[in-house]
């Protein structure tokens, strides 16, 4: 009976949570109470979670659960504008490369390469994540930063991991984007030009 009840309550809880997640903590407390009372495994899990909360360790770093946030569009628009101004980035991508020979595409690519490279150098300081040459054998110790090093292939066992470096990675160490006037419309990444 308890199994049946708890699964029914679970479904109610999930539905409520989806609908109004912040306003149902009383109901959540009641449900949790019921669960702990009737479900030994659930009770054990709650003990673990509460112990973790006290010591501060948890699966998500910092103790705060990770949340998704919307990427701020302004710096993206600004960078797009800079790449277009200096490197004709949008012009190049918006054009149908199929209609041209490799030599023609290559010539235009020089403009894009030179301009975009200049933008990159001017506004970002970039270094490689790993200093070793690509192809070198590297050992990744325990507790490595998994966002800076991606393990691929035969991924089994425990750290330290040993493998060959396929890409050195890039890390931006400094961003120097121009300041933007508050009234400026960043969505215009290239104004229309009219010659008088």
């Amino acid at each position: 009976m308890s199994e049946l009840l708890s699964s029914a309550l679970n479904r109610v809880l999930l539905a409520l949570n989806r609908a109004r997640p912040a306003l149902n903590r009383v109901l959540l407390a009641l449900t949790a109470f019921w669960h702990i009372l009737v479900d030994a495994r659930f009770a054990a899990t709650v003990v673990e979670v509460m112990a973790d909360a006290e010591t501060g360790s948890s699966d998500t770093p910092g103790g705060e659960p990770a949340r998704l946030r919307k990427a701020e569009p302004n710096s993206g628009l600004q960078l797009l504008g800079l790449l277009q101004q200096q490197g004709r980035f949008i012009d190049f991508l918006e054009e149908d490369v199929g209609a041209y020979s490799d030599a023609e595409v290559g010539a235009a690519a020089r403009v894009v390469h030179e301009g975009c490279k200049k933008t990159l150098m001017q506004h970002f300081s970039i270094e490689s994540v790993r200093a070793e040459a690509e192809g070198a054998r590297v050992t990744i110790p325990a507790g490595f930063d998994s966002s800076a090093v991606r393990l691929t292939g035969n991924l089994v066992g425990q750290a330290p991991f040993t493998g060959s470096l396929t890409h050195r990675g890039w890390r931006v160490t400094e961003v120097r984007l121009p300041q933007v006037a508050s009234g400026h419309d960043l969505a215009i990444v290239a104004p229309a030009e009219v010659e008088l």
Partner: protein, 614 residues
């Protein structure tokens, strides 16, 4: 001296400005703690960036051209012209609103430098133009605002400021530069010649080792080829009481010839190829091509194995792939146009063709007519053969046909292409070898773009006793024209004699003696005098009257004008006056008219073209 916290050096260049500063409190002996100010400037509409250089370009926008908010700077609203990077970029597409090379106009003797004449091609009723003086003032005001924004408790007005000027600037251009700096509130100001600033920067970079790299008897040739001008100076090394001394013994003529001419020349070569192939470029594309040529040139001159560098002139429209024009710059073209065109291997007796004379043109700048830097250099060294005659430790150059430099220091962005510095060194050494003299050493300089600003702030520091100073004083002697007293001959102008007012090498803050000749000035009426300068006559004392001279020795400058106000005197009265020269603490030449019978002084003006034009 003031209780300034910083010594600030401003390079007010023809194509770029830069500001460097020394923290006086943290600096000791030859260890100056130096930094470079990044200059916030508009880089596009609504976009402000702090860059090491402020391009010396000024754009006068149409009222409908940009939304007001898009021209916001960190420190002001959005009024007035646009300066710097955005001005240069916008002006490439709308040249009638772009002010460039204002500094060359500031020393153009054929125009009134306070008259609103820039941009020269702009329709007068449509574009409110600026004077060369005001353009310089705006660049300085921008640097002042940027500084004050970054140092709110140490305003620029309270700092020791050194502004650099070309060694070849005439007295009027020096005075206008100082006046512009004072007008933006720079109270503790001195002027410094740019080649000297480059040498100061070298001294600072050497961290005391310069004493090992130069010796008594050395003559250092400083070759400063900037974006718009070529500036030459000679600095001799002497000894006094056991310590090395540096003496600037000669400066070259004002040569309007620089890196921009070279990039433009290459662009013309490439453009001619395109025209021959039936492709035509609009002005915007030529600008892009010039820009591309600069990079291609630097690549070719840096890597001797490279034979060809591809160049792509982007389309103006959105069709980048379909509309762009592909071409290339070859090593042969660079060698022919640049290396042999601007730096030909010439004998030491070669002279530049066609000296550019002042009265030729009022519409454009008096660009050098001969593009060969090496020919200008040969003329300079030949003319200055006697520059070190009177210095202790230097023997008179007996057998030689020109002054023998023993060391060379290069400055200016042009020499980022190392091959060009090598070519000049080789040409100079060939000249030296033909006189059986040892080759000149190369003094390794620092940053070619920033050395002048850095040297200027270091100079502000050494003026307070922190290191070696270059002695020099005025690089010319000055003369006023006096009509000789002789019976009038119909159809023959009375010959002009030159009366020396200021001797060569007057130091800052000194006065020349009063020459005995009197001049009659009419009260209330401007009176003009012919005015002359010489960069080689080192021995003329004040008051000497030259009856004839060679055009190579003495150059006629703009007329000067004395205007006696009518206060306490009757208009029309003729007052006998003496003319006295002094050099101000700032470093400008000052001429005064002093009546025989009174305590007054009236300033004699240098830049007087306006009244003549009206």
């Amino acid at each position: 001296m003031s209780d300034a916290r910083y010594a600030v050096g401003i390079d007010l260049g023809t194509t770029h400005c830069a500001l460097s500063y020394v923290d006086l409190g943290k600096s000791e002996r030859e260890e100056a703690v130096q930094d470079l100010m990044l200059v916030p400037q508009l880089t596009g509409p609504g976009s402000v960036e702090a860059l090491p250089l402020l391009p010396s370009f000024l754009y006068l926008p149409h009222p409908d051209e940009f939304p007001a908010a898009d021209l916001t700077l960190p420190w002001t609203g959005s009024e007035g012209p646009i300066l710097g990077e955005m001005a240069r970029n916008t002006g490439a597409q709308t040249p009638i609103r772009l002010v460039s090379s204002a500094k060359s106009w500031l020393c153009h003797p054929g125009v009134d430098r306070r008259a609103a004449i820039l941009p020269p091609g702009a329709p007068e009723e449509q574009v409110s133009r600026l004077s060369p003086y005001e353009a310089s003032l705006r660049y300085l005001a921008h640097l002042r605002d940027a500084w004050n924004h970054e140092h709110p408790y140490d305003s620029l007005a309270a700092q020791e400021v050194t502004v650099t000027v070309p060694a070849s600037f005439d007295p009027a251009a020096r005075e206008l530069t100082a006046e512009a700096a004072q007008a933006v509130g720079l109270g503790h100001l001195v002027l410094l010649e740019e080649p000297q600033a480059a040498l100061y920067s070298w001294i600072h970079d050497s961290a005391g080792r310069w004493r090992k790299q130069v010796h008594v008897g050395d003559i250092i040739l400083v070759i400063d080829v900037g974006g718009g001008t070529t500036d030459l100076s000679l600095i001799a090394v002497t000894e006094r009481e056991g310590a090395l001394e540096l003496n600037r013994v000669a400066v070259g003529e004002h040569i309007l010839l620089g890196g921009d001419n070279m990039d433009l020349a290459l662009a013309h070569v490439v453009n001619a190829k395109l025209t021959a192939a039936g492709k035509s470029l609009d002005p915007w594309q030529i600008q892009a091509l010039t820009h591309g040529c600069r990079h291609a040139k630097e690549a070719l001159l840096a890597d001797p194995t490279l034979e060809v560098v591809p160049l792509v002139v982007p389309s103006r429209g959105a069709r980048l792939i379909g509309g762009s024009i592909r071409t290339e710059l070859t090593r042969e073209e660079v060698t022919r146009t640049l290396v042999d065109g601007f730096f030909p291997q010439v004998p030491v007796n070669a002279r530049p063709a066609g000296r550019s004379r002042t009265a030729l043109t009022k519409l454009g700048l008096p660009y050098a007519q001969d593009p060969a830097v090496t020919r200008h250099l040969a003329a300079f060294l030949g003319m200055q053969i006697g520059a070190t005659e009177h210095l202790p430790g230097f023997e008179a150059e007996g057998a030689g046909s020109f002054l023998h430099p023993t060391a060379v220091l290069f400055n200016g962005g042009v020499f980022k292409a190392g091959l060009l510095a090598e070519r000049i060194t080789q040409v100079v050494n060939d000249w030296l070898a033909s006189d059986d003299a040892p080759p000149a050493r190369l003094l390794e300089g620092g940053d070619l773009d920033l050395a002048v600003a850095r040297g200027a702030s270091y100079y502000g520091y050494v003026r307070r006793g922190g290191g070696v100073r270059i002695r020099g004083g005025t690089a010319r002697s000055y003369y006023v024209g006096v009509e000789s007293a002789m019976p009038a001959v119909p159809g023959l102008e009375p010959p002009i004699h030159a009366l020396c007012l200021a001797p060569f090498g007057m130091e800052e803050g000194t006065q020349a003696n009063i020459p005995p000749q009197e001049f009659g000035l009419v009260v209330g009426e401007p009176v003009r005098f012919r005015f002359f300068g010489s960069s080689v006559r080192r021995d003329d004392p004040v008051g000497v009257l030259l009856e004839d001279w060679s055009e190579l020795e003495i150059e006629e400058l703009e007329e000067i004008e004395a205007n006696l106000p009518a206060e306490e005197r009757t208009p029309g009265e003729v007052v006998p006056v003496f003319l006295r020269a002094s050099v101000t603490e700032v470093g400008t030449l000052l001429l005064e008219a002093m009546p025989r019978d009174g305590p007054e002084h009236w300033k004699v003006e240098f830049n007087v073209r306006s009244t003549a034009d009206e």
